[in-house]
């Protein structure tokens, strides 16, 4: 396992220090690390474990339990497509197929140029406007393949 460069591990220690006094702080700490780094680097695990007086196994177990925590650096834009039943009833599978082709990647992958990560998500609570997608925290509803292309075009560098 690669250990974190010292300035990054200092940043992790500062994050832990901000949350240490709260009851049950580990999830809060991991959220803060992901907000700051874009993902939870493997090298952050022993630092968090030491600071919170937990075993590395305990921290690793929590990081890997939750789908929301990323283990790799995300692309510049994270595209999440809802794959749950309501969106399926309105064409989510076809939309996902279209998105894979448009971006040239599968779910859980990042494009080679580092611009897009594609993720499945199980319900965005926008089931009255299915199919739904979320791009960089912005929610979109009634997403047709054409609308999807327009959303990607908005975020692509001018050709």
């Amino acid at each position: 396992m690669e250990s974190l460069p010292s300035e990054q591990s200092a940043a992790v220690r500062r994050i832990v220090a901000q949350h240490r006094e709260r009851p049950g702080p580990l999830l809060e700490v991991l959220h803060a690390i992901q907000t700051s780094f874009g993902y939870v680097p493997e090298g952050a695990v022993p630092v968090v474990a030491e600071e919170l007086n937990l075993s590395r196994a305990e921290v690793h177990g929590v990081v890997t339990f939750y789908h929301f925590f990323r283990h790799t650096r995300p692309g510049a834009h994270t595209v999440s497509l809802c794959q749950a039943e309501s969106c399926q009833s309105m064409g989510a599978k076809a939309l996902a197929e279209h998105a894979r082709k448009r971006l040239g990647i599968e779910f859980h992958q990042t494009t080679a140029d580092g611009r897009y990560s594609l993720e499945p998500i199980y319900c965005l609570g926008n089931c009255a406007c299915s199919p739904a997608a979320m791009i960089d925290g912005r929610l979109y509803g009634r997403v047709t393949p054409e609308a999807f292309d327009a959303l990607i075009a908005q975020r692509s560098p001018a050709a």
Partner: protein, 512 residues
């Protein structure tokens, strides 16, 4: 005097362009030198009309929708601020039949008020429930909740008053009130709408719960997929502290109640109450063995109320209007109202709050208008990914906990997902098992292993390998999961599979 215009800031409305519409209205008003008071309200729940713009007039609020940003100049040209005629005009909002037919108690303020304003909340009847509660003893508050007949709206439908009574009876110094806002079921969004559109009602409901059982700390466990609700709750909690409705001296009563939002991290299982408590403690969301019940040994080992958002936001209304007024709605053992969510392939999708007892047919056709695609409805799934598929033959069933159970379905959190006749029910059954495999916490074997084997068996059936034998095997596997799983995930994931096998057997033919 400036005219007040409402454009929802609700995530669902934003997802179809409400943000752009609000910006266009502000820009056009500025260009024309018109002084506007633009309020970002919650959604009325008529998502088929979103973005729904409302103008405050002498006749009350008048609605326009669905409005696109490009419609805005024409709306101004048609003098929509003075209710001039325009093709998008829907007339007075309250006279839109889809809304007028509803009985909104829990949702009475959602879409009406400014969700960031304590003053607006109080002006619309907010904090009357807490005021009443502060005049009562803990036991009297619990008695009111019990008498209202309120049952947990998260899905389990356990009587809320009984849960509260158990916590009240514990003599521990530290107790907690937790709100399960991990609304993960596909087809549901009532919690999200409440948190975004009327967050103070949740804060008030939790405060009343704290006062009732003697808990001084509350946690809202919110799913990470809801960033808009997170922002709305943080704003509202800060405002409630500012106005002294939270903190050391709640509403001048000398009672303390503190409240904090904690984020989940994309695990469906954390909607199960004991898993949620583990997650709140910062651990893997693995289900606990019960007993002990959370009401006796819950968060950090202390007596804890765990209630869903809709349950807690129903409490202020019950306290303010009386238990009997609430219990007068509904049928049988299902008292009060239920916010039903019409979702998926349905023409008029959105939130419908009505007393229990409406039939599925009334909901799907009279209110929902049939499918969005215009094709026949083939099945609906009620109660999320663990809910059974219901065929049209059962559409005369009333929406009521017991009536649905009688036809092998369950109401759950009140979400109804509609599928037209293009749906492949064998694939839906496979998806149910696959979802369970992805989301299983791994603690018990029937769920952890059974779901993966379930996917494999369905694949073999569809591949034409030993079809009949494998269907029997699948039925046996479902039975094992139902009987042997530790919690509802493994215990109910077979329901969609079993119902698909029962009602749509023809879809389980081998395909080459």
């Amino acid at each position: 005097m400036s005219t007040t215009v409402y454009v929802p800031g609700d995530a669902g409305a934003l997802s179809v362009g409400a943000g752009e519409v609000a910006a266009a209205i502000a820009a056009e008003a500025k260009r024309r030198g018109i002084d506007l008071n633009l309020v970002r309200n919650g959604s009325r729940g008529a998502y088929w009309l979103e973005p729904l713009v409302e103008v405050q007039t002498e006749r009350g609020r008048c609605a326009y929708g669905p409005v696109r940003a490009t419609d805005v100049p024409a709306l101004f040209a048609a003098d929509f601020l003075e209710t001039g005629s325009h093709p998008l005009s829907l007339g007075p909002t309250d006279s839109i039949p889809w809304l007028r037919s509803q009985q909104r108690l829990t949702f009475e303020r959602v879409g009406i008020i400014d969700p960031a304003s304590v003053a607006d909340y109080v002006k619309h009847g907010g904090y009357q429930g807490l005021e009443r509660a502060l005049q009562l003893s803990g036991a009297e508050i619990v008695q009111a909740v019990t008498a209202s007949g309120l049952r947990g709206r998260g899905g389990a439908a356990f009587p809320t008053g009984i849960k509260w009574k158990t916590v009240l009876e514990q003599s521990t110094a530290q107790k907690y009130v937790t709100c399960n806002a991990d609304e993960g079921d596909s087809g549901t969004f009532s919690d999200r709408m409440l948190m975004e559109g009327d967050p103070f009602s949740l804060i008030e409901g939790m405060t009343i719960a704290g006062v009732a059982v003697g808990a001084t700390q509350g946690y809202i466990y919110l799913r990470a997929e809801y960033p808009h609700a997170h922002a709305a709750l943080k704003t509202a909690i800060a405002a409630a502290y500012q106005s002294k409705y939270l903190g050391a001296d709640v509403a001048g009563s000398g009672r303390r109640f503190d409240l904090e939002v904690r984020l989940g991290a994309g695990a469906y299982i954390c909607g199960e109450e004991t898993s949620m408590l583990e997650s709140l403690e910062g651990k893997r969301g693995e289900v606990r063995v019960r007993p002990p019940l959370p009401a006796i040994k819950g968060l950090f080992g202390c007596p804890t109320i765990v209630n869903n958002v809709v349950t807690l936001t129903s409490v202020p209304w019950i306290l303010a209007h009386g238990a009997e007024a609430y219990a007068n709605f509904g049928m049988g053992k299902s008292r009060g109202t239920l916010p039903i969510q019409l979702a998926g392939n349905i023409r008029r999708a959105g939130l419908v709050e009505r007393a229990f007892g409406l039939t599925l047919r009334e909901l799907l056709y009279d209110i929902g208008g049939g499918t969005a695609s215009g094709r026949p409805i083939r099945a609906v799934q009620i109660g999320g990914p663990l809910g059974a598929f219901v065929p049209p033959a059962h559409f005369e069933t009333a929406v009521d906990y017991e009536a649905l159970a009688a036809v092998g379905a369950m109401l759950g959190h009140g979400g109804i997902v509609v599928f037209d006749d293009t749906v492949d029910m064998a694939q839906m059954a496979r998806y149910a098992m696959e979802f369970c495999a992805i989301e299983s916490c791994g603690k018990c074997t029937p769920c952890r292993i059974g779901s993966t084997r379930g996917v494999e068996v369905i694949d073999r059936i569809l591949a034409g390998i030993d079809g009949e034998r494998n269907v029997r095997l699948l039925e046996e596997l479902c039975e094992t999961m139902v009987q042997g799983s530790l919690c509802g995930l493994g215990g109910m994931a077979p329901f969609p599979v079993q119902s698909a096998l029962k009602h749509f057997r023809e879809d389980f033919r081998a395909r080459v």
